[in-house]
Symmetry: C2
Subunit: 310 residues, 2 copies
Amino acid sequence: MKELKIFAPATIANVSCGFDILGLCLDTIGDEMVIRKSNNKGVKIAKIDGQDVPLEAEKNVAGVAILALLQQLNADVGFEIEIYKKIKPGSGIGSSAASSAGAVFAVNKLLGDPFSTLELVGLAMQGEALASGTAHADNVAPALYGGCTMVTSYDPLHVVKIPAPEALYASVLHPQIEVKTADSRSVLKEYVPLKSLVTQMGNFGGLISGLYTQDYNLISRSLHDEIIEPYRSILIPAFDKVKERCLQEGALGSGISGSGPSIFALSEGEETAKKVAKGMAEVYKETQIDFDVHRSKINPIGVKILDIIE
Amino acid sequence: MKELKIFAPATIANVSCGFDILGLCLDTIGDEMVIRKSNNKGVKIAKIDGQDVPLEAEKNVAGVAILALLQQLNADVGFEIEIYKKIKPGSGIGSSAASSAGAVFAVNKLLGDPFSTLELVGLAMQGEALASGTAHADNVAPALYGGCTMVTSYDPLHVVKIPAPEALYASVLHPQIEVKTADSRSVLKEYVPLKSLVTQMGNFGGLISGLYTQDYNLISRSLHDEIIEPYRSILIPAFDKVKERCLQEGALGSGISGSGPSIFALSEGEETAKKVAKGMAEVYKETQIDFDVHRSKINPIGVKILDIIE
């Protein structure tokens, strides 16, 4: 094959009680990318549509991730990419991760799958390092594996995929404010009370168990975060009101997507997810802040191939 | 039925990365108890064999747990119990939990099952409160549910049972020293670095996932504890040597059972568990400390009925 068109999904990291570990892959929110083999070595970003992100390969997360891949292969090949960016940068639903995960996924396919999915996570993390200064995997892992993922360790990198329950839907509100990653990190406490750790681990264990056994009640009772959310939510206007409304509308739980500012809610079934998304929008209409609302089932496979040109 | 003879299993709490949450039920280590209906209201402890524990019902963990049960029922009944204590108190493998779990299990059966297993956990916790001053559930939950349990919350009490993998075996070394629960609590730090929390949660998530998917490699790579073990292990002579030996003999992992002093190791298959138990014994023979070594598969059901007298 010469060229691939792909869908690169948005993702929800942390998922309340899974700080820096858990991630969920979304299905109807994401970028599109076209990646084609080129006669010129290296990476050329031919087109970026929709958002103002850098065209130079070395400054673009997709470019950096592909360059990391090519360096490992020591391959005499080149690629041209077009990025149709639909996820807004800084939204907290893995905008940079979608680009770098999509890029390495497509290049790997075009080269005949020399890398495993875990290795692709490691390469896409190079893009994350460019975007945020930290090579974290909690968005690229779900983008590449699909479903729900746990980054159980970084040294060595290890990812566990948990199949997401069939009827699990996400609603996402993206308030169009800027929350700098540095700010969202700096509000966190460096030390956590041992008691809070036990509560958090109880919820985390319950959530994982609920996902494995498709127990929506257990998922619901476990979607709490008493370590990060109390601090980060202060940076998100009307967070408490949105969350309260989500629960009123029947959501299983609600929290901050990644480091924010997006707010997510999980629901059993599409109908509830619709009501929740509508409720989120109604709360935010009362603020003076622009916003987007998304709704999606959990994407079981991650990056998707939309078209193949042989 | 008038009388029951039961097996009340020993248990391993914490299981490295699951502090105050996880527990495993053992199969061939435990007490025996005989519980019979009596014409006299209340609880009479007719016999205690094997260990020097209090005969007065109000001072005995089994007695206290049954009294708590009877108080809830407001029932005009009485019971007589005999305890054949094989688990040494203070060993760290749930000696008091076995007695209180066994007691409420048997009385509940003799009364026609008025309480759910979760309710029995709550009642057995009264015995734990007497034994250690804290009504914890991480030993009584696995003793009553069997397999592997997570106490995901206390308020309200909630327990999740994870079926234990078929070939999972435990080896346990009990050094006959006294480690006071108060001491094993006091060495812990009140605050934990956020970074350590993320590492611990990664291991905890990996362990739960490994148990659900019977992935022994994942169980093995997850059996680490960087929050509690570094402090508590100081109270256990030759801990590092025993642990190292367990891993050399092929154990999946090794750590402190409950708050110690017992050291446990988990293995895939009975043969490895045997070698590990032998290795534990060899290390401890070089100390001047008396010890017991146990070996057991994971008990899938918890308390067992050995005999029924109608």
